[in-house]
Amino acid sequence: MSRTLSRAKSWRQPSVLPGFGLTFGVTLAWLTLIVLVPLASIFIRSAGMGWSEFVAVGFSDRALAAYRVSFGTAAAAGLVNAVSGLLVAWVLVRYAFPGKRVISALVDLPFALPTAVAGIALTALYAPTGWLGQFLEPLGLKVAFTPVGIVVALVFIGLPFVVRSVEPVLADLGRDVEEAAATLGATRLQTFRRVIVPAIAPALLTGFALAFARGVGEYGSVIFIAGNMPGKTEIAPLLIVTQLEQYAYAGATAIATVMMLASFLILLVINLIQAASRRRMGA
């Protein structure tokens, strides 16, 4: 890649390929129309309420507790998914076993099942009288109506993000590098740690980020299994609904703004890390 040859003063680096104007234009137009303008309405609405009021609603004790629950459980679920999603992707890519293709299709189920249905099904499983709950309860393990229940729901919601991010990279990972490592005397575990993990780290990070981001905002499935106790299992999206119930649109948008900025920053940082690592690897 010798791009330095023609570093013109142009905004983008020149390319022989056509279609930048068209595709970039379509992208920007659609993005603006569907995402940016509608989201701007949230900011503008919340800006209308004045700073002190914004802080009073967006950073009240109750809201802070809800952010902690939302971001905490989403991070926990993201971590669970990073580990188990990697495991699932690894098994699906590397090993052969009967029924693999059907199981591969199953991984996408959480995208398809309405979130409310997922929530009801999970609650039916983990409630003290549920299929699993009745065995967990005597062990002192409470899942439904505790933060653990929220994590369970978010693991369900976020799993495909991790598996589907890691899978293609794992499949594309050249076997020659591993072979080289093995010939140099590395054990399998060493190869995994030193060769495979660095190669899939960006994809794993993306998967984690998407699962996390999706978990922070999730409402439909969580509401059934959370128990919704203020300060303990009350999630931030529920507070938005609470504000709407009071016909306080501005308050609702204040909480939405805080959540959205936080998610946006987290996603941006992760995408920047990725771009940087790609540049380093590609250089």
Partner: protein
């Protein structure tokens, strides 16, 4: 080549499945359509009343009327009407939600509640306890709910209309038993300390109690309790009537501006007035709501025992004041559930 064809045929098959199923909803030729935007537990009620009114209207005017029903949480439905859901009539859980429609969207006059008899509330209900068969925890009245070890299921008053009635009924008892607002606040604080799950709405709470088997007592509308006792979990539950409760008055109103626009004013008005007729009142009682009609009430006396009741207007100064004091941000409910 074979693969490209395979790919294309798959894509084409998908496109066809999808396009075969387009085509809008069937419109109604002549006659009118009434959109009734209501809250969750009235489905069975309006399923019974709508066809009866359609027959009545056909006989009276010779015109056909069909219905579009929308159900959801009362507050959410109120907001939808404000935001442009073109309801001809609103039949919601709280007069407060219709007040908001009048105040924020100016779709009906502020004094809408005077348009129809009985505060524009053709059916009422009250808050009762539903306990498991045999009443294993021996729950008889409100004071039993705050005993240690009793689990109470009630939805979140900040998100559910029905839950606000529960809260106010509890408050009324606390005030009567303790003699002061401070005592009342202490009582509801203890009560909510016994709540393990705060569902977002009345139906969610019923499901938690009935299907998930959580809690010893469910605080709920009398109509929901009767439905659960008689239909959902036959023989598994029983109703306990407390010594004091609250008169829950779900409200109905013609959303006049929308009705004017649709030319449905007469039918919408007749529809709501029809709710007060003996036939409709009987259907109301069958749907476990308390009828307003004295004769019908007499027939169903065994189903609806007399309970001393407070009312929202007399004892709490109307919904506007109650909402602000108890349920808005920083109100009593926030105070009693805040972590210390």
């Amino acid at each position: 080549m074979i693969n490209r064809r395979l790919f294309l045929s798959a894509a084409a098959a998908m496109a066809m499945t999808v396009s075969a199923c387009s085509g809008g909803a069937g419109g109604n030729g002549n006659g009118i359509v009434l959109t009734n935007v209501s809250y969750d537990p009235t489905r069975e009620l309006y399923q019974a009343i709508n066809p009866a009114f359609a027959t009545y209207w056909k006989q009276k005017t010779g015109k056909d009327v069909t219905f579009r029903m929308s159900h959801g949480g009362s507050g959410k439905q109120g907001r939808a009407i404000i935001d442009g859901l073109e309801a001809d009539v609103a039949t919601l859980a709280l007069a407060y939600d219709i007040d908001q429609i009048a105040a924020r969207a100016k779709l009906l006059p502020a004094d809408w509640q005077k348009a129809l008899p009985d505060n524009s509330s053709p059916y009422t209900s009250t808050i009762v306890f539903l306990v498991r068969k045999g009443n294993p925890k021996g729950i008889k009245d409100w004071n039993d709910l705050v005993r240690p070890g009793v689990q109470v299921i009630t939805p979140n008053p900040k998100t559910g209309g029905g839950a606000r009635w529960n809260f106010l009924a509890a408050w009324a008892y606390g005030r009567k038993a303790g003699g002061s607002d401070a005592a009342a606040e202490d009582y509801v604080r203890k009560l909510f300390a016994n709540v393990p799950v705060l569902d977002s709405g009345a139906r969610g709470a019923t499901t938690t109690f009935v299907e998930r088997g959580i809690g010893d007592v469910l605080l709920t509308w009398e109509n929901e309790a009767l439905l659960a006792e008689k239909e959902m979990g036959k023989g598994k539950f029983q109703i306990v009537t407390p010594s004091l409760s609250i008169l829950a008055e779900p409200a109905v109103a013609v959303v006049t501006e929308n009705a004017k626009k649709h030319g449905t004013q007469d039918a919408a008005d007749a529809y709501l007035r029809y709710l007060y007729t003996p036939e409709a009142q009987t259907a109301i009682a069958h749907a476990f709501y308390r009828p307003r009609d004295a004769k019908v009430a007499e027939q169903f006396r065994s189903q609806f025992p007399a309970i001393p009741m407070v009312t929202i207007d007399k004892d709490f100064g109307g919904w506007g004041a109650a909402q602000k004091r108890f349920f808005d941000d920083g109100g009593v409910f926030d105070r009693i559930t805040a972590k210390k």
